[in-house]
């Protein structure tokens, strides 16, 4: 009875509103340690939907579960950078200390161990989440102390004995995360006048603001590079009373952690940019979609929003401007890379699973609640604020002709100084490698797994939309690294994170991954390279959204730029037999059933 009352209360807190399902099930998960299937009917009834819709949401997100988990869930980051930094040894230590394997919960219900995709801490790897608390720079030696402390007090915050720099030490954040800002540029991380951009913007007409953002050449920082001003113009001109400003703070591309630092150190710049966008577009509501991995920043961000409300920078008649009303809420994600895709993000904000939508209609015409919606990246909003303050010419004078401004890069992997670099577009890979202390790099992954891996002969290329685009992720690999292992890790990631909506992405990624594993197991033949290339191209060409249209890139770009890593391990098939077929392995089941070895095929 008590449980039912609690669930009803949670549903009520979110207005018994079906579109707030993400918040409802997140709260229930927090309260009970899972979303109990026996209450799906109750949740559905309270929120005015169907039980299978509840199940549909719960089963989509990795931070939600229909099975009871431990009071403390330790999620160890499994991306390749963390593996290179020793995540496997840390995992073994956790398993030893708790006596359970990953994917399991201790009998006393206190701990669960899980692997998770990149949590945005690749500059301080190996890293993990203990519930919402971030643990960085883990070593196997630290693990016994961690578990001991948690057994003494089941509050992961006790593990934070020393806070990181800057706002990481803020009363409302209190995390061991370090910013690792290695180079500040003039747009984002340099000094700036608080609210100068917003105040200058509201002196203009909304059309003039849009014109300025267009003329500045500001392109979307999430990776695709669409002109921000043009997006705003489409949204402004779209018919509809209600319009929405969405901020994509779901940076899930492995190796990307630059929005983490902007949200920590420049939250006002983000919210100010959203407010400028609201003024330009005529929107009244803004939503920041914050990835679940960054839940530790939530209280701090809520506080910044409250401060802005109190200062008249949000709410009604903003900055004293009659009729300029706008407010922002934070929507928490629940662990799904696909929700960084704008239409998936919108679905998730609407309380549904994060399946992407068809375009047209574009979000600018029919987005959140089928209303005109502008979705931009955290960094894009920061840039827009700065364009307003410092002017079009100032901004477009930085960077290259087609890529104006600076780019915030998050660099990790085999380099002396991993961290955040704000550099003007057009910086070459060689220049970047020098800054980060990795002049002996053998390979660089630009733009995360969905980007491309380049070899040293391409290090004179420039980071820019026209040459080497990146949402921010830069991973460096030295010559000791097994690049096929890297490729496999990336393909594992995509196979794990694809939503499964369309056939080519759902099946193609699994087939690509399986063949890659075979090759790494020494069962590859020369023809496999052709198989991978054809299958990769088919997956790219036929997939519905950006995920499947880029997921074969790790394979395709290494086949092109690092062909020897394949040719070294595949062999010509001279026997005519299928090398991937292991007859002894295939016989195992039959041997077990019959209780004897095959006469023809035995070891």
């Amino acid at each position: 009875m008590l449980k039912e009352a609690k669930i009803k209360k949670i549903c009520k807190r979110f207005g018994n509103d079906r579109t707030r399902m993400m918040d409802i099930v997140r709260e229930i998960q927090q309260e009970f340690g899972y979303v109990p299937p026996k209450y799906y009917d109750l949740i559905a009834r309270e929120a005015n939907t169907h039980r299978v819709e509840v199940q549909s949401v719960v089963s989509f997100y990795t931070f939600l579960s229909d099975r009871k988990k431990g009071k403390i869930i330790i999620r160890l980051c499994e991306d390749i950078i963390d593996k290179m930094a020793g995540a496997d040894e840390v995992a073994a230590a956790f398993e030893r200390e708790l006596g359970i394997a990953f994917g399991e919960t201790t009998d006393d219900g206190k701990f669960s161990l899980e692997w998770t995709a990149c949590i945005g801490m690749s500059d301080q790897a190996p890293a993990a989440l203990a519930n919402d608390t971030v643990l960085t720079n883990l070593t196997p030696e630290k693990v016994p102390e961690i578990i001991q402390a948690l057994k003494k007090k089941a509050d992961p915050q006790v593990l934070v004995t020393e806070c990181g720099d800057g706002n990481n030490a803020d009363q409302l954040i209190q995390t061991m995360v370090q910013n690792n800002i290695c180079e500040r540029g003039e747009v984002l991380l340099g000094d700036y006048d608080l609210e100068a951009g917003l105040r200058k913007a509201i002196e203009k007409t909304p059309e003039e603001v849009i014109e300025d953002v267009k003329n500045s050449g500001l392109r979307g920082r999430g990776g695709a590079g669409f002109l921000v001003g043009l997006k705003w113009e489409f949204t402004r001109n779209a018919p509809g009373e209600d319009k929405y400003i969405l901020c994509n703070a779901d940076e899930g591309e492995p190796g990307t952690f630059k929005d983490r630092v902007l949200l920590t150190e420049r939250p006002d710049l983000v919210f100010e940019g959203m407010t400028v966008a609201a003024f330009a577009i005529g929107a009244q509501t803004g939503i920041v979609y914050l990835r679940a991995e960054y839940a530790y920043l939530r209280a701090f961000l809520e506080d910044v929003l409250n401060r802005r409300r109190a200062a008249g920078l949000l709410g009604n008649n903003i900055c004293g401007k009659d009729g300029f009303n706008f407010d922002i809420r934070i929507q928490m994600g629940a662990g799904a890379y696909i929700c960084g895709e704008e239409s998936s993000l919108i679905s998730s904000c609407e309380g549904m699973r994060g399946d992407p939508s068809d375009r047209p209609p574009f979000p600018a015409i029919a987005g959140y609640r089928v209303a005109p919606t502008a979705v931009n990246n955290v960094e894009s909003y920061c840039c827009a604020t700065r364009v307003m303050d410092k002017g079009v010419d100032w901004f477009s004078g930085i960077g290259t002709e087609k890529s104006a401004g600076t780019k915030l890069l998050s660099v990790c992997g085999d380099c002396e100084r991993p961290g955040i670099y704000e550099l003007p577009f057009g910086v070459t890979v060689n220049e970047l490698l020098k800054k980060v202390g990795a002049e002996d790099a053998a390979a660089m992954q630009v733009g995360g797994p969905s980007g491309q891996m380049i070899n040293p002969s391409q290090f004179d290329r420039a980071i820019s939309f026209e040459d080497l685009p990146t949402g921010g992720s830069i991973m460096v690999f030295n010559k000791q690294r097994d690049l096929l292992e890297v490729v496999e890790a990336f393909m594992e990631f995509f196979a794990e994170e694809d939503c499964g909506y369309c056939v080519p992405c759902r099946v193609g990624n699994v087939l690509l991954l399986n063949r890659l594993k075979q090759i790494r197991n020494g069962k590859g033949v020369t023809e496999d390279m052709d198989y991978l290339e054809k299958l990769g191209k088919a997956t790219k060409r036929m997939s519905r959204c950006g995920l499947g249209q880029t997921s074969p890139n790790p394979i395709l770009s290494t086949l092109e730029n690092f062909r020897p890593i394949y040719t070294e391990v595949v062999r010509d098939n001279t026997s005519g037999l299928q090398k991937s077929f292991d007859v002894l392995e295939a016989m195992e089941q039959a041997n077990e059933v019959t209780g004897r070895q095959s006469v023809l095929f035995h070891a």
């Binding site: 169907h50 299978v52 499964g500 056939v503 099946v507 036929m542």
Partner: protein, 235 residues
């Protein structure tokens, strides 16, 4: 605004109403664009991607892409034929499809599509996934081995029956069709006469009615007479 807009498919001029999809306009013109998840009575969702055509150089699903004046559509090209064949192969290997003893053989759109494309065996390795069979409902059964996740049942239940019997659950390769009941189909309000249970809604043999198996003998079934798409090509 002109009454109708004009565009080309493989060089042939086609007319379309405003708002009409490429697929519908092609159908009206007697040009068959292969499709599996699209159904004339249901809203299109573009999940099987078989109907992908190249529109002004970019691949788009014809079932959801609105026709536009002057667009150049490539449909029956070697590239698209190859990619569609790839997709059909993918659907075969991701499930467990045994045509020789499937009740839907001859009426199965996936099988018919494979025949139309001259596929005798898939080029990719079969994944042999573990799938459930749900026989809990008194009149209808579900064999998940054969499901291709086209969601035609989901849409039929919502759009035609005014119910919500099915919905997608899970994600990635583990995605499946869930049912709106405590455990299984028998716990839902699905009725045997619902359109969602109609054999023309499920394109494969996943949702089938009980006690009517093999009423029409193999050899006399829909696609035994002529290939899939023939009605459209005949105009």
């Amino acid at each position: 605004m002109a009454d109708k807009l004009k565009f080309t498919i493989d060089g042939v001029e086609v007319q379309a109403e405003h708002g009409q999809t490429i697929l519908d306009a092609a159908d009206a013109a007697g040009i068959y664009i292969p499709r599996l998840c699209a159904h004339p009575d249901l809203k299109p969702i573009g999940s099987c991607r078989i109907c992908t055509v190249v529109v002004n150089g970019r691949p788009q699903a014809a079932c959801v892409q609105p026709a536009a004046e002057g667009m150049v559509v490539e449909n029956d090209t070697p590239e698209m034929l190859e990619h569609r064949r790839n997709l059909i192969d993918m659907m075969f290997v991701e499930g467990n499809h045994f045509c020789m003893f499937c009740e839907k053989s001859g009426n199965c759109e996936l099988q018919a599509m494979a025949y139309r494309f001259g596929i005798t065996a898939p080029q990719y390795p079969s994944q042999f996934p573990d799938k459930d069979v749900d026989a809990s409902h008194p009149d209808v059964m579900m064999d998940y081995n054969r499901c291709i996740l086209c969601t035609r049942c989901v849409r039929a239940s919502q759009e035609l029956d005014g119910k919500n019997v099915f919905q997608s659950i899970g994600r990635g390769f583990g995605r499946k069709i869930g049912v709106n009941g405590r455990q299984a189909l028998g716990d839902t309000d699905l009725n045997v006469d619902d359109r969602a249970a109609d054999p023309t809604i499920c394109p494969v043999g996943c949702i089938i009615k009980k006690r009517v198996g093999f009423e029409v003998p193999i050899g006399e079934r829909k696609f035994d007479h002529e290939p899939i798409g023939s009605e459209i090509e005949k105009g």
